[in-house]
Symmetry: C2
Subunit: 328 residues, 2 copies
Amino acid sequence: MGSDSKKCWVGFDLGGTKMMATIFDPSFKILASTRSKTKAQNGSDQVLERMAEAIREALAEAGVKPEQLGGIGVGCPGPLDLDRGVILTAPNLGWKNVAIKDSLEKAFKCSTVIANDVDAGLFGEYRFGAAQKARCALGVFPGTGIGGGCVYEGHLIRGKVSSCMEIGHIIVQPGGRLCGCGQRGCLEAVASRLAIAADAAMAAHRGEAPHLLQEAGTDISAIKSGALARAIKAGDKAVEKIVRSAARALGVAIAGVVNLLAPDVVVLGGGLVEAMPDLYVDEVRNAIDENAMKTFGKGLRVVPAQLGDDATVRGAAALAEEAAASGK
Amino acid sequence: MGSDSKKCWVGFDLGGTKMMATIFDPSFKILASTRSKTKAQNGSDQVLERMAEAIREALAEAGVKPEQLGGIGVGCPGPLDLDRGVILTAPNLGWKNVAIKDSLEKAFKCSTVIANDVDAGLFGEYRFGAAQKARCALGVFPGTGIGGGCVYEGHLIRGKVSSCMEIGHIIVQPGGRLCGCGQRGCLEAVASRLAIAADAAMAAHRGEAPHLLQEAGTDISAIKSGALARAIKAGDKAVEKIVRSAARALGVAIAGVVNLLAPDVVVLGGGLVEAMPDLYVDEVRNAIDENAMKTFGKGLRVVPAQLGDDATVRGAAALAEEAAASGK
């Protein structure tokens, strides 16, 4: 199962609603890609079968045989056992102890690694996108939650068992709004898409955001990043103020991490950034400039992610290659 | 200059007022140690000469010849150029561009590395003290300022040129008290010995801390960690409240770093911890327990440093050995 530069690679993105399997040639060009629904509610056993099926389809489309594979990399949600290749829990999906690595190694007779999906996406940006050749790259992905990752001297920083870099649960407003993790004032409770949607829904209800009210109403589930962006474009100043304030809080938190890890690049991704890259990235960059120590802020690049939906499969495949090269 | 397991090592602690040179045998037993005054005001050239003189004295006392040395490690204040071995600036000492590495390599014909003094101290605790065998060790040293460091999988996390892990300049109270770095609400402005002394001086002035007032007055320069500890022991409840509140703020900030780096041990050192280890470590530990994510807080050890004044020389010598082993 060792390293072989002539091998192809599989990158897999296992999401809560969708999954994607992509086949890469030895130089990481995409040969084929299949997308399907996860159907998490059918249970993890069926999902494992559907994952293998998706990979088989993609291999067939690419004209690649399992024997040609150097490895499979899978970006997964939830706390993981990285070494054993197991999803420990994925509360949203109702899964427990899902043995991704064992299942795929059995099915394809090739080594498999798993990674946190945010980590895989950042590693993709590091190898092929916005963070190439960085000595230290910090990735921050504000969406429904706020994910973080760090590639330091070529490797993802990880915890003993699972991933770490949980920037969303740094406390930025002691005693502030309740977070899903049980704490108060976490960055995620203040600056995530969900937190923005809650504030924007209040503004809409008060009549301060007529465009948002018309498009999305006051149901925070309907107030997605695109709706926020369109409301701002249409002139809802209250919505713009809420988004800028959240981006600023994110930037202040990132500045703290910059003081700790001295990255040379901060990559911003996720729905909010994709929907309003200029406004959002500018606001975050200014907050970092104002709040990071000069010695670390100087020369620091703050950039949007480049790979979009492909980041996770690309990064997962690259992690499979890395693991094969290191003989894991 | 390469690695040689039969070599002796020099660890050097270059402080603003004092310096210490210690000679270690190949198994890192202390053979001799000399302490002297830095006399920084005499200029960096004279200090470089005095450093060499201190090492020569210690070598003579240990009966070790320069040819027997595997390397010299120096813990230094100020922003450093780690690769070139230069102190870039040490504002308190009035130094600029002090070429420690070149100077000592010329004097002793043996390879020399420099490190931030906090990093060297933490590396000492990692190799020989409270953080031995840790996969990831976070060190936090509250004193006049608040220093931080992290040993991750055997190596210090560092910036591109100098050290990083500046936990003292994470913003914990947006818009709060002015910090020496120019920001507001940095942890250092809220929880350092200087911040505690300022609050305690106010309490003393208001008559709420009679024992502190009697021993140290209201001059914050005189309100050192020992005076604070004695005032608490004598019954100054206001001082105890101030110290506990600062320790708690430190713990909340550390909890954020725990969520980022998932250390298995947090080592607390410095004057405040040495003066009141039980009160201080307990308060920090409780704040981490309450504010870190359960998955990272579980099993985390929070412990006082073990090596005291020897941590920096031990760590600096161990870093010299590490550099020699890696052929740097």
